[in-house]
Symmetry: C2
Amino acid sequence: MTRRLATDDLLHLEHFLPYRLSVLANIVSATIASAYAARHDLTTPEWRVMAVLAREPGLSAAQVAERTAMDKVAVSRAVARLLRHRRVTRRAATADRRRSRLRLTPAGMAVYIEVSPAALDYEQELLKVLSSAESRTLDAVLHRLLGRARELAADRIIRATNH
Amino acid sequence: MTRRLATDDLLHLEHFLPYRLSVLANIVSATIASAYAARHDLTTPEWRVMAVLAREPGLSAAQVAERTAMDKVAVSRAVARLLRHRRVTRRAATADRRRSRLRLTPAGMAVYIEVSPAALDYEQELLKVLSSAESRTLDAVLHRLLGRARELAADRIIRATNH
DNA sequence: TAATAATGGTTTCAATTGTAACTAAATAGC
DNA sequence: GCTATTTAGTTACAATTGAAACCATTATTA
């Protein structure tokens, strides 16, 4: 008994995981950005660069790119703005003079120390609607989904490259 | 016994939920887009508009915006492209001539019917790394997080407006 | 050790996106 | 019924982003 192809068999946007992830991530990022963007004249890429440099001073731009999942152009632009605002310093690495060593200035650290708790508060407010078991599951699930998403993305790239 | 403020107390990007959501959503969206963008000359906004029109023919642009979480400008641009490619039709609503009624053409439906299973396959591939219990939890958790994120975003807007 | 390739990072140019201003039609107030 | 508002959607302009070309330095290799 074959059925006609019905729209029910096809994709329903509201239930489609990629769409839901995208909407959630956008609203969350926009809300957080609205908290620091105006007050500190800080973009999301800058904020990410600062966050990794706070924990690992002396990283190069490429290392920052790795840790923030940004591309090198985005890092370059964020760093340029941070330099102009005297929030980071840059000097050439002694061994390899192509490579830079980036650090937060005290002023940069001060901004980070002020913004960071607000961001963490927001995260806590968001997680209030989950039980601690759900939070743990979410943590594990996101970790595994990200790994899987990277695998699938790599697959595609190989296929696309070999076209 | 008070401790000095350490970077451990501050935000660690890799563990920060908003950051992780953003990275995951981006890689997932980019992978899916790479599947249909080149093959069908279709952008993500167009794809979303098509997906809702497939299920609910005759929606207005504003209704499409609601259901896709896009703003009206993005919908307008996506619809303009879809009209040019003869993938949707538009006529004015009889009652209110400002309002449009949008429908997929057979050609538009054909594209949707071709792309849709590939997108659903991708979703299944992604979810393979989760148990069915985890999938169900994720579903519920995303639903609640989205509701909460909307509340928090609304809060901010009110505060921002009353500055 | 000269020539070539690879790497780190920046710049340029085009495409995408966001914000505000706008047009057209409908509704509300008087 | 005439003006003021609101709503639906588009357009214009600025800011952001992405892809490719680019410069400088280091590594490779013949």
